[in-house]
C-alpha cells in the first residue's frame, strides 16, 4: 500500500515535469492547425498554414540556409575534426594538452562571446558575405564536438592494427583509411549527428556572426516581436515530428537489440551452467 502511494507520487512528479516541458510545444503544434492568424485565439481547425508554408519564399529561403549550413558545416567539421583527433592522438602530451585546451574554448565559452568574437574577426579580415560567415562560424563551433566524440574511440582502438597494416605494405594514408577510420566509425557518426543538430538549433552565434543572411532562428527572432506567423508553427511541427520519429526509431531499435543481447546472454549462461 505504502509502495503504491509512493509510486503514485513518483509517477505524478515525472508526469508534471513532462507536462511542463511539453506544454509550450503542444501550444505551438495546436495553433499550427488554427484557422485564425493570432496564436491564443482558436477559431477552428484548418490546414491553410501548411499549404501556405511552401509558398512562402522568405521561410523557404531561411529553411534552405539552415539546412544547407547544417549539412555543409557538419560534413566539413567531421572531416577536419576526425583528422585533427587522429593527429592529436599521436602528439606528445604537452602539445596535445595545449591544443585540447584551446579546443575547449568554444565549448565552455558562452555562445554570446563566441558569436561576438567571430563577428569581430570577420569584420577585421573584411569578410562581407553573410552565408560564408555563417558557414565558417558553424564549422568553428562544431569541430570541438567532433573531436570529443572521436578521441575516446581512438584511445580505445589499438595501435597494433595500424602497425600491422603498415607491415603488410599499406602506405600510412591507406592504413588510415582502411584500418583506423573503420575502427572509429561510431565516434565519427555520433560526432556528425551532434554537429548537424547543434548547427540546426543555433541562434546566438548565428545572430551575431552573420549579416544580411537569415537562417530560421534569426528569422524567427526578428518575427517574435511582431508575433509569429502560424506558418512557422506549421514548419516547426513538421520538423519536430520528423526528429522525434527518427529518435524513437533509433532508441526502440537499440532497446530491442539490448533485450535480444540480454536473452542471448541468459541462454549462454544456462548452457554453461
Amino acid at each position: 500500500m505504502v509502495k503504491r502511494v509512493r509510486n503514485f507520487f513518483k509517477g505524478t512528479y515525472l508526469g508534471l515535469m513532462l507536462l511542463f516541458l511539453y506544454a509550450p510545444i503542444a501550444v505551438l503544434i495546436v495553433y499550427s492547425f488554427n484557422a485564425s492568424k493570432t496564436m491564443g485565439n482558436w477559431t477552428g481547425f484548418s490546414l491553410i498554414w501548411y499549404r501556405a508554408l511552401f509558398g512562402d519564399a522568405m521561410i523557404m529561403r531561411a529553411l534552405g540556409v539552415t539546412l544547407s549550413v547544417a549539412a555543409l558545416s557538419a560534413v566539413i567539421a567531421t572531416i577536419m575534426g576526425t583528422f585533427a583527433a587522429i593527429g592529436m592522438h599521436s602528439m606528445k602530451k604537452g602539445t596535445r594538452l595545449v591544443i585540447e585546451n584551446i579546443s575547449q574554448l568554444p565549448v565552455v565559452n558562452p555562445d554570446l562571446v563566441t558569436g561576438i568574437s567571430l563577428m569581430m574577426i570577420f569584420a577585421f579580415i573584411g569578410l562581407k558575405d553573410g552565408y560564408t560567415r555563417l558557414l565558417l562560424a558553424h564549422i568553428t563551433f562544431n569541430i570541438p564536438y567532433v573531436i570529443f566524440s572521436v578521441a575516446p574511440k581512438l584511445r580505445q582502438s589499438s595501435n597494433e592494427l595500424y602497425e600491422a597494416a603498415l607491415d603488410l605494405g599499406c602506405t600510412p594514408l591507406e592504413a588510415l583509411i582502411k584500418v583506423v577510420i573503420p575502427d572509429i566509425m561510431p565516434g565519427i557518426v555520433s560526432g556528425f549527428i551532434l554537429a548537424f543538430t547543434l548547427s540546426l538549433d543555433d541562434f546566438v552565434v548565428s545572430y551575431f556572426s552573420t549579416q544580411g543572411v537569415e537562417n530560421l532562428s534569426i528569422y524567427i527572432y526578428s518575427m517574435a516581436r511582431r508575433g509569429i506567423n502560424p506558418k512557422i508553427n506549421a514548419l516547426s511541427t513538421l520538423m519536430f515530428v520528423a526528429v522525434v520519429t527518427l529518435l524513437l526509431i533509433v532508441n526502440i531499435k537499440s532497446i530491442r537489440e539490448e533485450r535480444a543481447a540480454d536473452t542471448q546472454r541468459r541462454k549462454v549462461a544456462k548452457k554453461t551452467a
Binding site: I25, S103, V113, S117, I220, A224, V243
Partner: protein, 272 residues
C-alpha cells in the same frame, strides 16, 4: 609522413577562428584608436552596468538552484527504473530541445499572456487573473524551462553509473532511505551535479532573448546589454570590455567548479 600532420589544418583553423578572436576582444577592450587605455574597462565597470551584471548573476543563480531542485529528483527517479524504460523516458526529457528554443519561449508568451491559456484557466476556476507575462518570474521560468535538460542529463549519467552495491551496503548496515540518500547517493553524485550546475549557470548568466521575449525588455540582462553595445551602438571598445569582464567571470566560476569537483572526489574517496 608523421600522423601529427593531420592535425595541421585544424591547428590553422583554430588559430584564426578561436585564438585570434579572443586576442581581438582583449585588444579592443584595452585600446582606443590603437593607444592603450583603461577607459573602456572603467566604462564597463560603471555602476549601471554592474547593476545589470549583478541582476544577471542573481537571476542565473536562482535559475540554477531551481533546475537542481526540479532536475535532481527526475534524474534520480529515472536512474532507479528498469534500463530500457529509463532510456526511453530520458529521451522524452531531451526531445523538447529539438524544437527551436526561441519558438518554445515564444509559446510561453501565449501561455502566460493576460488573455492567455493560464489566465483563462484561473478565471474559469473563479480566481482573479494575474499579470504573469513581462515579470521577473516569467524570465526565471523561461530560463528554468530552457536549461532543465542540461541539469537532468549529467546527474542521470552519474547516477546510472553508480555501483548499486554501495546503496545495498548502506542499507545492510542499517541506514534508512533518507540516510542512504544524503550520506551515500548524494555525495557520490556530486560530479554530475557540478557539471550540471556549470552547464546551467554559465549559459544562464549570458542568456539572451529570453529576457526580451518574456520580460518584455523590462529586465535588461548582461546578454542584452552586450547586444546593445555591439549591434545598436556599434561600440566595440566598451562591448569588448563587457565581454572581457564576462570571460573573467566564466573563468572564475569554472575554477570554483573544478575545485568543488576535486573536493567532491576526495570526499567520495574518504567515504570509502
Amino acid at each position: 609522413m608523421k600522423r601529427t600532420v593531420f592535425a595541421a589544418p585544424y591547428a590553422v583553423w583554430m588559430a584564426i577562428f578561436i585564438f585570434a578572436p579572443m586576442l581581438l576582444i582583449g585588444y579592443y577592450a584595452f585600446t582606443d584608436g590603437g593607444d592603450f587605455t583603461l577607459a573602456n574597462m572603467r566604462a564597463g565597470l560603471d555602476a549601471m552596468y554592474m547593476q545589470v551584471l549583478i541582476r544577471s548573476i542573481w537571476l542565473a543563480f536562482r535559475a540554477t538552484l531551481l533546475c537542481l531542485l526540479l532536475g535532481y529528483p527526475i534524474a534520480y527517479l529515472l536512474s532507479r527504473m528498469k534500463h530500457g524504460t529509463a532510456t526511453l523516458l530520458s529521451v522524452f526529457f531531451v526531445v523538447p530541445m529539438w524544437m527551436n528554443f526561441l519558438l518554445r519561449t515564444y509559446a510561453w508568451q501565449v501561455l502566460l499572456d493576460s488573455g492567455g491559456i493560464l489566465n483563462s484557466l484561473l478565471i474559469s476556476l473563479n480566481m482573479p487573473g494575474q499579470q504573469l507575462l513581462y515579470t521577473e518570474a516569467a524570465v526565471l521560468l523561461g530560463m528554468v524551462y530552457n536549461f532543465l535538460p542540461f541539469m537532468i542529463l549529467p546527474v542521470y549519467t552519474v547516477l546510472t553509473k553508480m555501483d548499486a552495491s554501495h546503496i545495498e551496503a548502506a542499507r545492510d548496515l542499517g541506514a534508512n532511505g533518507m540516510q542512504t540518500f544524503f550520506r551515500v547517493v548524494l555525495p557520490l553524485s556530486m560530479p554530475g551535479v557540478i557539471s550540471g550546475v556549470t552547464m546551467v549557470f554559465i549559459p544562464a548568466i549570458t542568456t539572451f532573448a529570453i529576457s526580451r521575449l518574456l520580460g518584455g525588455g523590462m529586465f535588461m540582462l548582461y546578454g542584452d546589454l552586450m547586444e546593445n553595445q555591439f549591434l545598436l551602438l556599434n561600440d566595440w571598445g566598451s562591448g569588448s570590455a563587457l565581454s572581457f569582464i564576462l570571460l573573467i567571470l566564466v573563468i572564475i566560476s569554472m575554477a570554483v567548479m573544478r575545485r568543488a569537483e576535486r573536493q567532491a572526489g576526495e570526499e567520495g574517496a574518504k567515504l570509502w
